[in-house]
Symmetry: C2
Subunit: 379 residues, 2 copies
C-alpha cells in the first residue's frame, strides 16, 4: 500500500510537508503557511514535582513544587512545555490552568509565526510568566521538530560552548550541608551554588569548603539588609573562592544595591529584582552587574534570547537559572546556554519524578544532545 504524503513524510523524518513538493512559483500562496486546515492543539495537565530533599531558602522550606505539563500538537508532531510554580512567585496550578484555558492557538495558521503567537499569549493577561513560558517552550519544541533541528542550531550556537552548571546547596545544619556537598562532589559538579542569607553564612561556606575547593556561586535571596555588612561579607566570600553574589539585598533597596554593586569586588546578579526584558533598562543597569534569566520568570525562550542580547549590549553578565523543573524546562533553557557566562540548571536533579529525559549534566557540564527542538523525550 503506498504511503500517503503525510505518512511518507513521517517515515523518512521530514519536518515540513512543504519540503516534499516545494512550491517555488514566485508570488503564489505558500501552501504550508496559509493552509488553515492545519491547526495547533494545546493541551496540559497538572503535575506535582516531588523533591528529593527538603528545599530551604532564606524565607521558607518545601518538599514539592506544583507544575503543569503542556503540549502543542500539530500535523503529527508534538512540542512539549512546562510551567513550574514555586509558591513564592505567586502562580499556581489553578492560575496556570485558568490562563491556559484562555489560550486559543487555532487562530494562527502557522506555528512559525512565533512573534505574533507569543505577543498574543503575552496580551491575554498581565503576569503569569510561568503559564506563558509553558506555551513558549512547547511552541519552540514544536518548531525545532518541524525542521528537525535542535534549537541551539537554529540559533547558530556551538553546543560545545555550554557552561558548567552549579548544583545548589540549600541552607541547613552543617551535617546535612556536608552530606550534600559530598554528594555534589561525587556527582562531578565543577561549581556549587550555596544559599545564604539566614544568619549562618560563614558556617555554610566553611562547611562546604571542608569538602571541596571548586568555585562557588552564592545566592542570598534578598537576605542581607545592611549594605556595609553585605560588602564586608562579599570581601570575605571573595577570599573563599566565590565567583558572584546573587540577589544579596532586598529588591526594594535599590539605592543600597547600586552602592553595593559599585563597591563590590564580585559581580552582583539580580534575580528577584527583575522579570522581563523591559526591566533590564529600568531596574538593572546601574544597580546590578548582571542578571539571572529564568524561563519561568521571563515568559520563555523567545524573551530570554532577547534578554541575553540586550544584556550583552549593556555589558551585563548573564547567568541562566531555573526553578525546580523537569528536564523539559531545563533542557529548553540549556539550548540558550552557550550564550551565557554562568549556568545554574540543576532544577531537574532536585526531583524524583522527572517525566522527561533531555539535557544531561556530564562531569558538571551542561551537555546538549542532538535531538530536535528543546531536546527531550517523554518517558
Amino acid at each position: 500500500m503506498p504511503l500517503n504524503r503525510r505518512d511518507f513524510a513521517k517515515t523518512i523524518g521530514i519536518a515540513s510537508l512543504g519540503a516534499i513538493v516545494p512550491n517555488l512559483t514566485f508570488g503564489s500562496a505558500p501552501s504550508y503557511i496559509k493552509n488553515n486546515s492545519k491547526k495547533m492543539k494545546l493541551s496540559f495537565q497538572p503535575y506535582e514535582l516531588e523533591m528529593k530533599h527538603t528545599f530551604t531558602v532564606a524565607e521558607y522550606s518545601r518538599n514539592s513544587t506544583p507544575d503543569v505539563l503542556t503540549k502543542i500538537e500539530y500535523e503529527g508532531f508534538t512540542g512539549y512545555g512546562e510551567a513550574s510554580m514555586p509558591p513564592y512567585l505567586g502562580e499556581s496550578i489553578e492560575s496556570v490552568t485558568k490562563f491556559l484555558k484562555k489560550v486559543n492557538l487555532q487562530q494562527f495558521s502557522d506555528p512559525f509565526e512565533v512573534n505574533d503567537i507569543l505577543s498574543y499569549i503575552d496580551s491575554i493577561e498581565e503576569g503569569n510568566p510561568a503559564a506563558k513560558a509553558s506555551v513558549d517552550i512547547a511552541l519552540h519544541d514544536l518548531l525545532g521538530k518541524l525542521v528537525n533541528q535542535p534549537l541551539y542550531k537554529l540559533w547558530g550556537l556551538n553546543p560545545d560552548k555550554t557552561p558548567y552548571t552549579s548544583f545548589t546547596i540549600g541552607i541547613d545544619k552543617p551535617d546535612v550541608v556536608l552530606m550534600k556537598t559530598k554528594e555534589a562532589k561525587a556527582m562531578g559538579f565543577k561549581v556549587l551554588k550555596v544559599k545564604l542569607g539566614r544568619g549562618n553564612d560563614q558556617e555554610m561556606i566553611n562547611t562546604v569548603r571542608e569538602i571541596t575547593n571548586v568555585p562557588l556561586y552564592v545566592d542570598v535571596n534578598q537576605g542581607w539588609t545592611d549594605r556595609n555588612k553585605a560588602l564586608d561579607m562579599i570581601y570575605w566570600l571573595k577570599e573563599k573562592g566565590v565567583v558572584f553574589v546573587e540577589q544579596p539585598m532586598p529588591k526594594t533597596q535599590v539605592d543600597d544595591m547600586a552602592w553595593l554593586t559599585e563597591h563590590s569586588p564580585l559581580p552582583t546578579m539580580a534575580d528577584e529584582a527583575f522579570q522581563r526584558l523591559y526591566d533590564i533598562e529600568d531596574k538593572i543597569k546601574g544597580v546590578y552587574s548582571g542578571i539571572n534569566i529564568k524561563l519561568m520568570k521571563c515568559t520563555g525562550l523567545y524573551e530570554a534570547h532577547k534578554m541575553i542580547t540586550v544584556a550583552r549590549a549593556s555589558n551585563l553578565k548573564v547567568m541562566l537559572g531555573c526553578m525546580t523543573e523537569t528536564s523539559c524546562g531545563v533542557s529548553a533553557a540549556a539550548q540558550l546556554s552557550p550564550l551565557v557566562d554562568w549556568g545554574d540548571l540543576d532544577g531537574n536533579l532536585l526531583i524524583k519524578n522527572d517525566p522527561f529525559v533531555g539535557m544531561k549534566v556530564i562531569k558538571g557540564k551542561v551537555t546538549l544532545n542532538d535531538w530536535p527542538g528543546i531536546g527531550v523525550r517523554k518517558l
Copy 2:
C-alpha cells in the same frame, strides 16, 4: 538505478541529510555536526552594479557601484551573498577581495555554528563591514536552504507584517525630480524618501508635493550644520507630511544632534553616525530617536537582528535601509523587515543588471516569497 542518499535527499527536497536517518541515540556523536569530511566552500566574484540613473546625495554623484558576489557551497546547497561598496564608505573591490581571500571556512565542521563562524569572520580584521556581510548573508542563505525554510520563519516572523518601502528621490533639478516622483507614483510606492541637504530643501519637497501626497522620509546625509535652522526646517517638513529626518547633521556634531533630537517634532534617525551593535549604547542613546540599520554597515543579518532587539529594548525607532545592491542583499534585509518601523529597501530597483530575483515590492510593500534562506534565485 537506485538513488544514493544525497540524490534522494535532493530529489525530494529535504534539507538536511540527517533528516533521513535521524540519529536519536542519546549522547552519541551527531554525525551531521561532527563529520569533518563535509566542508563549506566560499567563492566570490567582483560585479559592477550599473545604475539606472545618476545617483546624487549631499556630497557627490555616481553612475555605478562596485559590488562583490559571494557564495558558500556545502553538500550540494549554495548560499548567496553580496558586498556592496558605495565609494564614500571606504571599501572597494580590492579591499573586499583581499578580505575574503583570508577567510577559511574549512576550519568549521558545521555551518550552523553561526556564532563561532561570524565571530571568526569579525576577528580577521577591523572594519570591512560589507566584506563581512557578504559572508554572513551567504551563510544565512545556506542555513535556510539546509532546513528548507525562509529565514523569516526561522526567526518567528509574520511575512504579512513587512513594511512599505520608500523609494528614494535624489537631489536634482525640479524637472528631474518631477519625473522621478511621477515614476515612483506610477510604480505604486506608498512612501518616498527625499534626499536633502544641498541648499534646495524646500524646492525639493515642494516639487515632490506637486505630484503626490504620500508620507515622506527625508535624508539629509549630514547636510545641515546649524541646529536652529535645522529645527526650523524640521517644523516646516512636519507640516509637509514628513515622517522622520535621517542624519540631519554631521555625525561629529553630537551635542547639536542631541539638542535637535530633544526639540524635534519628528524622530531623528542615525545613519552615518553609527555602524555596529556597540554603537547603539555609545553613540545613539540620548542623541537620536532611532537607527537606520543596513547590512553592509553592520556586518550582516546576525548583528542586524541583535541590533533590532537592542534598539527596541531602548525604545529606539528602527528603520532598515540598504545600499545600491542586488536583490540578494535587499532580500536578505527584507527577511528581518517585519520587525522594523520603516523600510527603505529600494536598492535593487536602482540598478539595471540585477543578477538575482527575490523580494518584490508589490504596491509599495516589501513582499516576501516562500523560498528558503534569503529568498533569492540567481538568474
